[in-house]
Symmetry: C2
């Protein structure tokens, strides 16, 4: 299992492109990912009742299409809350790519991100689809251009890839994703595309993805706002030449591990680049009764505005962490809980059996001043654990979101 450079073009037979089509004012705004052969596809999508037009389309494609061969994505306009015109525009977006690549529209996933409530500039998109298909390339750079073109308020693009072996064949899993506001995924995150040259049945591909997101994308939060457009799409084209995986054997487990490395990496990058964030904040809850309770507890801490502002201020205000667990809905005995913080600067136990230890505030502040900080809560109830990732809440989060549309 080796981490390598690259993203959606790392696996065999995948090409990509990213261009400026004219949706945004200046920056790149359209991306295309293409498999030279038909691929099995899986997807997980937002649980928000308000679903964007591309999400509705992709859910249908995932269910009904035998194969998928392309993913077209735009940034700038989310195509959410756009009614029937929005659905027609989305179809036209898929058709334009289908026509340019000579594949059925039903083999094209779509994804949009940006402002809610505005219609897509569909002629611009149709021209963009043509331009994208003529620029497709299997280089690492082409993957990076695609990753760049799906950014909105992200400050850097997010890619990740790994190599591993199945039956003597080298397999690659690579992906890209974007944040960085309205991030509190529930089934998937804002936009993510992962590709692999593994041969695997469609059913197992979906199962691997659905299981995976529970521990990766669904464990991050920037602002507790679950978006209307969350989509994570996974394409497997089989070009690595392994014998197709059709049962949950060691090869399947290997793939799940590789997928987890890529998606965890992308998820953490997304949390660290949360709108306005200066720090990646990781929360581990251990010793919980059940995994579900550990997840609820860790997400309650990671999403508390008061905890997030304390992390921003490098203030070891542990009372807020205990408070956030207290209102999470999980029952526990606060008088036995231990709480520690950790970073590259060191590790420190702040709370033992529910009460403050005689810790040094100075050292605590030093630990919390690092770029990546961790809090560990031991519930002393059982053996279940969970890890969640978030970021601090800063002036810049307010600034970005008080005038996002202007």
């Amino acid at each position: 299992m080796n981490k390598i450079d690259g993203g959606v073009t790392a696996a065999k037979g995948f090409q990509a492109a990213g261009i400026y089509a004219g949706i945004k004012k200046k920056r790149k705004d359209m991306a295309l990912v293409y498999s030279t052969v038909p691929a099995n596809a899986a997807g997980t999508f937002t649980t928000n009742v308000v679903k964007a037009a591309p999400v509705k389309w992709d859910i249908k494609i995932t269910k009904e299409s035998k194969f998928v061969q392309a993913v077209v994505l735009n940034s700038g306009v989310a195509n959410a809350c756009t009614g029937e015109i929005g659905e027609q525009n989305n179809l036209r977006m898929a058709q334009a790519v289908g026509k340019a690549l000579d594949i059925p529209a039903e083999a094209v996933y779509t994804a949009s991100t940006g402002v809610i409530g505005k219609q897509l500039p569909i002629e611009v998109i149709e021209e963009g689809a043509k331009a994208l298909s003529s620029e497709l390339c299997d280089s690492i750079e082409a993957g990076s251009l695609a990753a760049e073109a799906i950014m909105t308020t992200d400050t850097y693009s997010k890619e990740s890839a790994v190599h591993f072996i199945v039956g003597g064949k080298e397999i690659t899993v690579g992906g890209m994703a974007k944040g960085s506001g309205m991030i509190h995924p529930n089934m998937a995150t804002m936009l993510g595309v992962v590709t692999t040259d593994l041969a695997i049945s469609k059913e197992l591909l979906q199962e691997a993805l659905s299981e995976n997101v529970k521990h990766t994308f669904n464990m991050i939060s920037v602002d507790r706002d679950t978006s209307t457009n969350d989509s994570l799409l996974l394409l497997a084209n089989g070009l690595a030449g392994n014998k197709e995986i059709t049962e949950k054997n060691d090869d399947y487990e290997n793939f799940c591990e590789a997928l987890s490395i890529v998606t965890t990496d992308l998820a953490k990058k997304m949390a660290a680049d949360g709108e306005g964030a200066t720090k990646l904040f990781e929360v581990q809850v251990v010793g919980a009764n059940t995994e579900e309770e550990a997840i609820i507890l860790s997400k309650s801490i990671i999403t508390s505005n008061l905890v997030k502002t304390a992390v921003y201020g490098s203030d070891a205000n542990w009372g807020r962490i205990l408070c956030a667990m207290g209102y999470s809905g999980v029952s526990f005995d606060p008088d036995v809980v231990d709480l520690s913080i950790e970073s590259a600067e060191g590790k420190l136990k702040l709370v033992e059996q529910g009460m403050a230890t005689d810790y040094s505030e100075e050292f605590a502040t030093k630990i919390l001043s690092a770029k990546e900080v961790k809090a560990i809560a031991d519930m002393k109830q059982g053996t279940a654990s969970a890890t969640a990732w978030g970021c601090d809440l800063t002036y810049d989060y307010v600034k970005i979101n008080a005038d996002y549309r202007s």
Copy 2:
């Protein structure tokens, strides 16, 4: 039903005091409310699993004591996560007041607010209790001093009072409360004390209060953080001379209405004075299937960081409102929803049947620039409705909470 000046000392037979005892650096930090005769008492308290020592004490008093005659409150230290020493200190606080006033400690409610995890400076508190009891007075000013002494990050003190008539007797209900961070009450809010000279049975008093908070304190949120110390305490001493209310007749309904005026007023003041807030933000959800769903929908909007920052920026980013309803957990058809905004500047429909109307962004911004702004969502499902109150999310919220302890 007449609104009048005053707070906890407005009703007959109630005295109060507020002093600087030495818990905080400079500002007033201890308050006392006293009834010259034994009073029936009711309380609602935080649902946080982590409960402060005074909350545990008050729950016991509410259940076991025949009457209550005083409420002692301190600001600066919350006496939460303080273990057995914290409970002993809380008892000493009640005993000091009991001794000074010559009443049983079990007739004294306690309340603390401030930093979590620090022990009370109990000698300072005991001296403070003595000083408070010698300064008790039934003037409106004395009530105001008490309201001032319970403030933490509040920028102004919160009081409210009304007059009404029961059986020819003039009855008064008056109260005080404080915010303004860690405010997402669930059963009651941070700290609130309401007094009345009405004669009413203990059972009905509790029932009136429990029903009341569902529509008042439980409908506000500053930061979605439910505190460890939330307590709303209600004392009724019967000195108005009415025949004791022992059944749910018209007099009871009258009292509920008076109580609602006082608590809604206090709750709205608390929301408007949320940490860093520049605006009171009210959300009305109408046309919902059930009241419970209307409550969930309105609170989901009022607590969304993205909606709150948009309100701060006077940006009619209605997609975020629809998005927040969409992830609330309530099922509805987004394609039929209407959305309007309203303030002293005017009223404007932004969304009709799930899509943007052709509204003027300029006028929308003007409406949202007022000090009190309202959003109204019509779900077109049924006839149930709910109103929630919150505030905008600003730079100052981050500033206040990034260095609250220092």
